[in-house]
């Protein structure tokens, strides 16, 4: 807390004052031909050091504010002492307690200063202006009202010294050779000096507390602003959470719809295939041709529905439920074997390079199968006859790397940032073939992200494309196995 930090500062400052007084006294004795009343002056210095020790101990106790052991403040005292900017804020009670502690310290200091000044020339002492110094300190730490109270206390002490010494009620300890011997007894001089000191004290109190109040107000404003920013951040976070919920609901809906569509589509395709197979009787060539087209389009539709299902499932982030342990080498080999026929039909050379041994990973089997299938199918689809598709599976210390490289039509640089967007197909891809849903790479992106992996695409038009997928291999086994 700020006020407590300032208490420590005040205590450090006081040690400096003790050293300063001793140094000044010793220096003054040697430079000026003055006879200082050393005994009472050093007695006051010793008293300052003593109460500073006590204050140091008290400040340590004040810091943690042990319940029940604190100074109890009545409301009115707290009102007077605590700076306005701190009122009504969190920790006000502690602030009031610390403010009282500071007010008592400054009161003690003013008393000590008055004694020092009295034993060293009274109003003649040039260090009389240290009273102003204390007023400034009060204005920085305490409330405006407390500052004026401190200024009044300082003025009363000065009045006591001035009038007391002038009238002979108090002994005057002269600063021989520095000041006129009888100056302290000149009512006009004393009166003028007290007037100037009084005005200066109250001006210092006014200016100091005005500047301090202004700064505290800004601090308070800053704190309010920070609270407002925090509130807005919370709202934003809540909005984001709601959005994430909506996104999840949308994915669930998409998954359910695609799930429902799969059944009827499968039946349509099966029925068409049965008719095309001639089991239901011969049909004319034109009918056969049309049914063939219908079957092909139904197949494309089924593929899109399946891709939507996989995509929405990956988006739902229900990964934990889908995880299982399997051999990645076997999976890649399976998929490549299944696609070999398509590669041969396209006049392509399809090669696979993989670790000779099983690589057991914990992942979503269906999702990963789709990732490999999509990448290799894409490479086959967009590589003209005579080209090459190379699939490489490699294991590093903590990740699984799958690379699919082709000598195909490539992706123009302008389209590269969009290839992971749903339904996005680069113009050269559309021109090359009518097949393809534009969901393949969106699925790859979603599934890989879901597994905490990365996917990178490098491509040059008419030269080829290289897609690299890196999946982290967790050191532990599947949590649900």
């Amino acid at each position: 807390m700020e006020l407590i930090d300032r208490i420590s500062w005040l205590i450090r400052l006081r040690w400096l004052a003790v050293v300063g007084v001793v140094a000044t006294v010793e220096l003054a004795r040697r430079i000026f031909p003055v006879h200082l009343a050393l005994a009472p002056i050093y007695a006051v210095v010793a008293a300052i050091a003593a109460y500073n020790l006590v204050l140091t101990w008290l400040a340590r106790r004040l810091r943690p504010f042990p319940a029940g052991s604190e100074l109890r403040l009545s409301g009115i005292v707290a009102q007077i002492l605590t700076p306005r900017a701190l009122r009504g804020m969190e920790g006000e009670r502690e602030a009031a307690r610390a403010a009282l502690f500071v007010a008592l310290q400054i009161g003690l200091d003013l008393g000590a200063l008055a004694l020092l000044v009295h034993f060293a020339g009274g109003l003649e002492n040039p260090f009389i202006f240290f009273f102003i110094f204390h007023t400034v300190i009060s204005s920085i730490i305490l409330s405006r009202r407390a500052t004026y109270l401190q200024a009044t206390l300082a003025f009363l002490l000065l009045l006591l010294i001035g009038v007391g010494e002038c009238t002979g009620i108090l002994t005057h300890y002269p600063l021989d050779g520095v000041w006129r011997r009888d100056a302290h007894a000149d009512p006009l001089l004393v009166g003028a000096q007290l007037l100037v000191l009084g005005i200066t004290l109250y001006l210092a109190a006014f200016m100091g507390s005005t500047i301090a109040a202004h700064m505290r107000e800004r601090e308070r404003h800053g704190a309010l602003l920070a609270a407002e920013v925090a509130r807005k951040a919370r709202l934003l976070e809540e909005a984001y959470e709601r959005l994430a919920e909506l996104e999840k609901a949308k994915s669930q809906y998409m998954r359910k719809v695609s799930h429902e569509l799969r059944g009827p589509l499968g039946t349509i395709e099966t029925a068409l295939k049965v008719v095309l197979a001639g089991t239901a009787g011969d049909s004319p060539a034109t009918v056969q041709d049309l049914l063939g087209r219908a079957a092909r389009r139904a197949g494309e539709l089924a593929e899109m529905v399946e891709e939507l299902r996989v995509l929405s499932r990956a988006r739902e982030a229900r990964l934990a439920a889908e995880m299982s342990e399997f051999d990645a080498t076997e999976l890649v080999t399976d998929v490549v074997t299944e696609l070999r026929e398509a590669a041969e039909r396209g006049g392509l050379e399809l090669t696979l390079e993989s670790p000779g041994e099983p690589v057991t990973i914990c992942a979503d089997l269906a999702g990963l199968r789709q990732v490999i299938d999509n990448l290799v199918s894409n490479a086959i689809r967009y590589t003209p006859p005579g080209g090459r598709v190379e699939v490489t599976l490699a294991r590093t210390a903590d990740s699984l790397r799958l690379e699919v490289r082709d000598t195909g039509i490539g992706i123009p640089a302008a389209d590269l940032p969009h290839v992971f967007e749903e339904f996005y197909r680069a113009p050269n891809a559309r021109a090359h073939t009518t097949g393809g849903t534009g969901l393949g790479l969106a699925i790859v992106g979603a599934v890989v992200r879901q597994h905490g992996g990365t996917v990178n695409v490098e491509s040059a038009p008419d030269e080829g494309t290289r897609v690299t997928v890196a999946l982290p291999i967790p050191s532990r086994a599947c949590p649900n196995l």
């Binding site: 499968g266 889908e322 399997f326 199968r369």
Partner: protein, 143 residues
């Protein structure tokens, strides 16, 4: 009783059943059908067909799997051992298991659904007939 081999199709999709019936009848089999699991189990017990073609039967999702486990626990050996061809590619997509009750829901190494063959939808007629013939020739040996 005809000497043709008898196939029972258990599937709630009547249109698909019709298409499969046409294909299998065309291939010389005698085909009957049940459109839900309880009827299918009854029919299996009373007729003891040579082979069952079984759908996973959505939307219940697990009804087909429960059918398998119930049939395999049947009191009569001739019913218990009827070969099953499952109309799904679920074995490629998940390692989830579907016990009638209990279990933690996943297969461990060496465990699998006790059926003879899987075939994915959409069903390719020629492939279906080929698989059915293979399974009938092989008998109750599991896949």
């Amino acid at each position: 009783m005809s000497d043709r081999q008898r196939i029972l199709i258990v599937d709630d999709d009547r249109d698909l059943v019709e298409a499969l019936k046409l294909t299998l009848k065309g291939a010389g089999f005698e085909v009957t059908a049940a459109f839900d699991a309880p009827t299918g189990l009854q029919r299996a017990a009373s007729d003891a067909p040579d082979l069952i073609i079984l759908d996973v039967m959505m939307p219940n999702a697990t009804e087909g799997f429960h059918f398998v486990w119930t049939l395999r626990q049947h009191a009569e050996e001739r019913v218990r051992s009827i070969p099953i061809v499952m109309l799904t590619a679920v074995h490629e997509k998940t390692s989830l298991r579907f016990y009638p009750e209990g279990g933690d829901g996943t297969y461990r190494s060496g465990e699998y659904l006790p059926v003879q063959e899987f075939i994915d939808k959409p069903v390719d007629p020629a492939r279906l007939v080929e698989k059915v013939r293979q399974v009938l020739a092989r008998g109750p040996e599991l896949r």
